[in-house]
């Protein structure tokens, strides 16, 4: 066994400290649409060094910090810790357990923006994966306009 446990706090929709233990073999993750499953995999990629905010579906790295919900204010910090068991000596160190951690704090200006609710900034139309979805909402807004003109 190598992957031992993942701790997430304040990262995207995981506002509360959440611990995921990994066993041998296959660990399944299930749940309804939008509940946070891909966010778990985002957390792993982020703590393993993902540099591209775009790969994490954000504009900037601060987009991974919990941005609030009806019952909870936004947080100022996101942190993820991933712990490995090193019994097989996969990692080049004599330690038997290694934890990789990463944090990001919200910048002061970003906190001000949150209060003034500037909305969604310059997110343009996005690429959507499903085939029909490509036709309806393609990355090329000329295509989407065509759909509206067709409807005119």
């Amino acid at each position: 066994m190598f992957l031992h446990k993942l701790e997430i706090q304040g990262f995207k929709s995981f506002v509360e400290r959440t611990e995921v233990g990994f066993g041998e073999g296959i660990t399944g993750v299930v749940g309804p649409n939008g509940c946070g499953k891909t966010n778990v995999s985002d957390a792993i990629r982020w703590v393993m060094g993902e540099q591209s905010a775009h790969q994490l579906r954000g504009d900037s790295m601060e987009d991974v910090i919990f941005s609030g919900s009806p019952g909870r204010k936004p947080l100022g910090l996101a942190e993820v810790h991933l712990t490995f068991r090193n019994d097989r000596g996969i990692l080049p160190t004599e330690f038997s357990e290694v934890t990789v951690s990463r944090r990001v704090f919200r910048s002061l200006r970003d906190i001000r923006d949150l209060f003034f609710d500037t909305g969604m900034g310059s997110h343009a139309y996005s690429v959507i994966e499903r085939q029909m979805v490509d036709h309806v909402l393609s990355d090329n807004s000329g295509h989407r306009r065509f759909l509206f003109e067709e409807a005119s």
Binding site: P32, S126, S152
Partner: protein, 164 residues
């Protein structure tokens, strides 16, 4: 032409919001035209499922984006109904509850529009009025069989499931 576009777009905007709220059981969504010239502007989609922030669809989950696209499709159909519509596995990223909502809406629209729906999903198969199976028992050669024709026999969905 520009006037017609603005009117049509306005109607689609209204319907998109309503259809989104039906499929997401709440929340909000907007189609925004970005730019001065109505014939040159770009169209942005922002959405806010219940309990979440208004954000570009790029930040939503896979299933949420698929459902939002379905909402847009139905919104356009309300303004300019098509006599028929072909859907190819659009339900693939949806969870069971969302497939159910999608089907409920599909049924309502199917009173005025014929739908041809390709799917691997058992719930969607069950909702079809008429079901065809495609097989390739002879290698490389497709063969179509009628699985069910408006009888809604319980066995049909299982036969279809065996084909799929």
């Amino acid at each position: 032409a520009s006037q017609l576009f603005v009117e049509t777009f306005g109607k689609v905007q209204q319907h998109f919001r309503d259809v989104f709220r039906t499929l997401f059981e709440g929340g909000d969504a907007e189609l925004r035209a970005v730019g001065e010239d109505p014939l040159e502007c770009e169209i942005e989609i922002v959405a806010k499922p219940r309990g979440k922030h208004l954000q570009s669809i790029s930040l939503m989950s896979g299933g949420e984006r698929a459902l939002t696209a379905i909402a847009l499709l139905f919104a356009i159909y309300l303004v300019k109904p098509s006599p028929f519509c072909l859907l190819d596995e659009v339900d693939a990223p949806l969870d069971d509850a969302n497939v159910e909502r999608f089907i409920r809406m599909l049924r309502r629209f199917s009173k005025h529009t014929q739908f041809v729906v390709i799917t691997h999903n058992k719930q969607t198969m069950e909702a079809a009025n008429c079901l065809y199976g495609v097989t390739m028992q002879e290698l490389g050669v497709s063969k179509l069989v009628s699985v069910r024709f408006d009888t809604r026999a319980n066995g049909a969905a299982e036969d279809a499931a065996e084909l799929a």
